[in-house]
Each structure stands twice: as structure tokens, then as C-alpha cells.
Symmetry: C2
Amino acid sequence: MEETIKGSQSLIFKNAPYLISAASVTGSKEAEGPLGKLFDMTSEDDLFGAQTWEEAESTMQKEACVLALGKVHVEPAAVRYLFGGDLLRQGIATSMGVEGLQIPMFGLYGACSTSGEALALAAMSAAAGYGEYMLAVTSSHFGSAEKEFRFPLGYANQRPLSAHWTVTGSGAFLVRSAERAAQDCHVRISGVTVGKIVDYGLKDSQNMGACMAPAAMDTIVRNFEDMGRTEQDYDRIITGDLGYVGQSILFDLVRGKGYDIRERHLDCGMTIFDQQTQDTHAGGSGCGCAAVTLASFVLPKIEKGEWKRVLFVPTGALMSTVSFNEGASVPGIAHGIVLEHC
Amino acid sequence: MEETIKGSQSLIFKNAPYLISAASVTGSKEAEGPLGKLFDMTSEDDLFGAQTWEEAESTMQKEACVLALGKVHVEPAAVRYLFGGDLLRQGIATSMGVEGLQIPMFGLYGACSTSGEALALAAMSAAAGYGEYMLAVTSSHFGSAEKEFRFPLGYANQRPLSAHWTVTGSGAFLVRSAERAAQDCHVRISGVTVGKIVDYGLKDSQNMGACMAPAAMDTIVRNFEDMGRTEQDYDRIITGDLGYVGQSILFDLVRGKGYDIRERHLDCGMTIFDQQTQDTHAGGSGCGCAAVTLASFVLPKIEKGEWKRVLFVPTGALMSTVSFNEGASVPGIAHGIVLEHC
């Protein structure tokens, strides 16, 4: 299978697996946003009937998995491996969320890039023939993220304009190996570009778009060079949550490498909220942001053939409150997933 | 490659990759323990020259990776993907530790089972032909773990006898695909059993052995049944950090399933410290515990052929201080790695 290796960081799958089902579950603010009508499930109660924000996030993950499986009538027991993660310390939203499914699981952490990491590993495992079905799931919750990274919501701390609004949402994706092709599925994961940690020395955790933009550039340009492509080869290049600040930095950095992605770029963090009316500052963020935007808005367009080939690049800022308070920089990471209409 | 799938959770590799190099880096207490002379690098200064426990842990990870690569003269640029994790919130020790190597990376979280998770994914990627070299690394640090899960060391809080002592250490493992077999290497990763989350409802974070024992039993028995084996087929069955409390529970649980592993069992947490003289209570723990014990003590015995086949089962307790304080239970997870002399 040597020919699947491309360049230094990318794989192109000989037997590209199918992305046969996806589901999105979000909170109330996301339901009021531009994509509100596209989500599979939204809750007026951001606690989702639970007692804590963490339990609420776990509930979203479980519901997203059950929905993604239910849409194509696949039982959890048929899923070989689950790849999941979230933003909380020790990935607790995932552990508690997927526990009930009883699928052998790999816990992941890639900050807001985790949906890309999970999709990459699910696709790699399916393409290698390690099982028929693989499940990828990620989540974030505004309440649990504010508590984890800033303060409990009750403190009502102020946010600079460069700050992001963590998306309350979870997206789940069911990947099926190509050996048993899905009749009604028109989306394949044809390749991946696994990201490196990129550190420009920025230290402002309230400006994550700037921290992540260099990593997004690095992965996008690496994808072009590994696969012998340019921006012309993609209908859309979709980053996770760079927001308004990060997007302009990304455009400059990519232009410095000789490419111009402005006409084909879309950022999930800028798509999920209406900045003007929803007071979300730089845009949405969180493991759930890219995941629910992909599930609800991007995949249907690829499924229909409106977009033939998309480079999906969720981006993550690698930090903790401890590293931040100790004065460490905030490096970024981004993973590229090539999605194609078939 | 369908025939690599065994049972519901296990894979047996047709082209079993080699584990060609391993390195261990530990702190001073580990250096004074029974395995002290076997570690590649130990430091009298548990800060490893850094300013914080977190930076010290990152330094250990970096040193372990550099040592594992250096032993077989492989450059970081030759490594296709890195799989790494630690116990800290947002896996920050790994992000900061491996950043300088500039290897495309997957961040993982599986609590103290992470070394198994990383080895499983490294072996799966190498066996699938996704690259020649894959690197797996995990770490823990007593100082950073006490701060993360209990209190900063200066508080000098008391510990019950069922508590573990977090190992200050990092282990790194270089996996090479079988297509380019290593001449002087006699250890192969012949298969894996990926664990499920197992929750018996225990809530005592100071008794992690009891929390993890059910998961260890589940993965060991699943490995036996998936692969059509019994305890007789392994020279040793080696758990990560069940300790004295967890071991006795494991023996009972496994016996309840019709197997008796008492004569073949070894626990890294009980091996790395001398409980009598080092005041380590139930035993060592942490992502580094199983990793450095594997690298320094277990692998040389397989390499020499003293042990022909070993089932390595690092165990993790899935919790955070938030989940604990909110009253959630502490489920466990364990991943099984089959190591064979060749």
C-alpha cells in the first residue's frame, strides 16, 4: 500500500472510505444562528436536562452518535472503533458521553482540531481494513469551556473582541470501509494531511485565531505540495474556527507561499454565528464548531455534488490554563481532510 | 486485509511491525527503585532544569523521543507520525514536549492507558503501510500530577494507603513497518485489543486500582476470546498500574471468567517502586509508569527471548477533578498490546 503515501505528511487512500452518516446536536444560541435550521437536534435548554455543563456536553455527544448511527440503521455493536475528544481536562465529556455505547475507543486531544484528528484516524483505520464501521465524534459546550479556560459563567467576565464564542454542539460521523460500499452515499474521504505543531510564539489565549492561523497555513500548503495541488483543485477550503482575525492572517500567510485561497475559503467559526446580531466577537470556536458545521452545512453540499472536492481543516490552539498562566506560548495544530463527491 | 480482524475488539497484524527502539527517562525516586539501573536517563533534579513541573515533564518527553530515535540513528524527519499523550489538562506536556521534533502528530488521552493507546495506533499505522517509522510517547510527573489532580506539593496533603504514587517518567517507542525489517530487532507487535470503557460505579479517585481492575479484566478476557487463547499462551500478562489493591481485584474478576493469571501476572506499578522502603502505598501510576517499565524492564526480556509472548495492558482511570467533584463515577479503560519475540 506504499502508494498511499504522499509527500511528508499526507496519505491518499487507494480504497477511500465513505463518510456515510453525520449528525449534529447544538444548543440554543447555535439554533438561532444562520445554520439553525440545518442541525439535527437543538435544545432550548443548554443543560440538555442534565445537572452540570459537563454532563450536558456528554449528553450531546451521546445523542450525536446515536443519531449518526440511527440515520443509517447501524447498531453500536457493529462499530469497530470510536475516535472521540473534547476540550475539557482529561477529555471527560467524551469518556462519560460515549461510555454507554460500549464501542472500543481511542480518546483524542487536538484542541479544536480534534474533529479532523478523529476523522483522519477513522478513515485510516477503515481504509486499512481494520473494520467496516468507524465512528468519529467531538464536542464543546460554552458553559463547560468558559469554566475550563476562563471563569464559571456566573463571574460574567468580559471578553475582548478577538475572543471566540465556544460553540455548544457535538458532531458525529460514521465512516464505512470502501469494501462494502454504501449505495446512497456520495461522500468519500480520499486523503488526509496530518498536522505538525506550529508555534509563532504568540501568547494571547484570547486571540486564538492568530495563534492557529500559522498552523492552518502550514497544513493547507503542505496538502497542496504533498498532493501536487493548488487552491484551484478544491471547491472550498474550510478551516475550523480561525474567525475574522485568524482568517485575514491566514490569507496573508498563504499568499506569502504563493497561493491565494480568498475566493474559496470558508471558516466554520464565521459561518455558524451571525457576528452582527449574535455578539460572538471573532466567531465560533470549540471542538463542536467545525464538527456541527461539517455535519449540517458542508457534507450535504458535497453529497449533492454542489462541491466536488473540499479540504476540511479544523484548527486547534494547544494550551491549558496552567500553560497560559506559566507564560508558555500558544502553538497551533491543524489536520486536513480531503472530502470528495463520488 | 480482512483476516487481521479477530473477534470484536482485536486485530492480528499480517505484517506485524517491529518495535525497534525504546527509551526511558525518569526522576530521582524512580532511579532509587528496583528498576533504577535499567533506565536510560535519570535526573537528580526532578525539574530537569526547567522552571515548572509541566516544563519538566515536557523535557522528559523530548529526551525520551530523542533517545529512542538516537539509539537506532533515525532522524525525526524520517518519522511519519507521532502518537503521544500525558495526564495533564489539554495534554499540554505532550504538545510542548514534542513540538521541537516537528513530526506530524496525533494527541491522545487515555489516562494511564495512553501508552497502550499510542502503541496500538502506531502499530496499526505501520502495519497499514502508512509510513516506515511511527513514534509513540507518553509521560507523567509526580509534581504536575499532584497539582492537576490533588493539590500543589507545597500543601503536603495526606494520602490514603489505596492511593498511588505518580511516576515521574517518560517512555518513547519507535515502531517500524515490517516491509523494511530491522536486522537486530527481535520484538514485534503482533496484535492489539482496543479497550472499551468499563464502569462498575466506583467513585473513589484515591483508589484507582479498584476503578481500573474491571477494565483490565475486560480487555484481558476479550483478548483471550478474540484470539482463541488462554493465560497459557502468554509468558507474562503485564498491567499498567493496578497496584496491590487493583491486582487482587483483577485476580478475582478474571477467575470469575474461568481464567487464572496469578502465576503470569506482573503490574508495572508494583514493579517500579519498592513499596516497603519507598512509601509508595498502592504502587506507581501515571502514563509514564507502564511506559518506562516496558521500555527498561519488559522489552529487553522479550528482545533476549526470555519471554516469547507478552500481553501488555496499560490501564487508565477516566476522571478529572471536575467530574470527581461533581460526583461522577470513575470508569476505567485498558488497551492490550501483544508483544512477541521473533
